[in-house]
């Protein structure tokens, strides 16, 4: 019996709040924003607001949010890791986890002190150089999956991932694969990169990397959505008729 099943109780035996807490501890994919830093300015991220005029009200509100933000203290991180039993995502709402000032230490903590729990590191920003990644991968346990956001190939990825050193991110993925690190290449399909899907598949095969295509209907005045066949199958909530 796996850990999940041994923990599952009948929801009828719990009140609403117990049910909520039980689910969060055992069956959720929790999300921890480690930091507030990221060098990218992806058009569908809050960071894109920073490109607006200084008097723009939304920019002012977002700048205030950054002002109130900080790197998670390691003590606080451990409180979270003690609460959630599994499937913990280190994923930024507007930041990249690898920019936490003690990121190597966090890798050590996750790999050694919490080795029974699985972690996902969602990253699209580049770090200093390949040496930085090599050290990070050496600290990465088998319980950690790196998910790299490279949307297309290195020539097209920076169209959405503004400021991304896509070559370095790609090289880091290849290095991770060579070092037997669990990883995933996450490719969001847009109008400007949909022609590269097959090439990406073949590159992923060549380097023994798992490729995950993400289909989205989102677009903005800065980014063109994929053609219809590559768009997400939308779940349209229609009114249900009850006789």
């Amino acid at each position: 019996m796996n850990k999940l099943h041994s923990n599952v109780k009948s929801s009828a035996a719990m009140n609403l709040h117990e049910q909520y807490v039980f689910g969060q501890q055992n069956l959720s994919n929790s999300n921890i924003e480690l930091t507030y830093r990221c060098p990218l300015q992806c058009p569908q991220c809050f960071r894109d607001l920073l490109t607006r005029d200084n008097n723009d009200p939304k920019k002012i509100i977002f700048k205030q949010k950054i002002k109130e933000s900080f790197d998670i203290p390691l003590d606080d991180l451990k409180k979270l890791l003690n609460f959630f039993n599994d499937d913990i995502s280190l994923c930024g709402q507007f930041s990249d986890p690898i920019y936490h000032s003690n990121f190597y230490e966090i890798l050590d903590i996750c790999s050694k002190e919490y080795s029974s729990k699985t972690f996902k590191i969602h990253t699209a920003a580049h770090q200093k150089n390949l040496e930085w990644y090599k050290t990070a991968f050496e600290k990465t346990g088998k319980n950690i999956i790196w998910i790299f956001g490279l949307d297309g190939l290195i020539d097209t990825s920076p169209i959405y991932r503004k400021n991304q050193n896509s070559q370095l991110v790609f090289d880091a993925m290849v290095l991770a694969s060579q070092m037997n690190i669990n990883l995933l290449w996450q490719f969001i399909v847009f109008g400007h990169n949909e022609h590269q899907i097959e090439e990406a598949r073949s590159i992923a095969d060549k380097y023994n990397i798992k490729l995950r295509l993400i289909f989205t209907n989102r677009e903005s005045n800065k980014i063109k959505k994929a053609s219809e066949k590559y768009q997400a199958k939308t779940h349209i909530k229609e009114a249900k008729i009850i006789n």
């Binding site: 709040h17 069956l27 959720s28 924003e33 109130e68 959630f84 499937d87």
Partner: protein
């Protein structure tokens, strides 16, 4: 028209993955990352989710936070009180029945 939220963050007896709690860069926990927007802060503050006592650094454990009166009220609202639920919860997890 009956309006109801089916919260994706609530365990319903199945082994299906649910949306998890989000830790935000300002040191607070929110019921899900969809709520972590500076533009929802005012609305969530009225529900008490940004009360100083709920900051993670002011608590020994996460249990203290999720078992607080503010969080209990929040879960009750999104489950049973559609009108008072945050806009984002209605948008992402809301259903309308006729």
């Amino acid at each position: 028209m009956i309006k109801k939220i089916d919260p994706q963050c609530l365990y319903n007896g199945n082994d299906i993955k649910i949306r998890g709690i989000a830790y935000c860069s300002n040191g607070y926990l929110l019921p899900c990352c969809w709520l972590d927007s500076p533009f929802f802060k005012k609305e969530l503050s009225t529900l008490g989710l940004y009360d100083e006592e709920l900051k993670l650094s002011n608590n020994e454990t996460v249990d203290n936070i999720v078992n607080s009166k503010q969080w209990k009220t929040f879960i009750e609202i999104i489950t049973n009180n559609y009108e008072q639920a945050p806009f984002k919860c209605k948008k992402q997890c809301g259903n309308e029945f006729t």
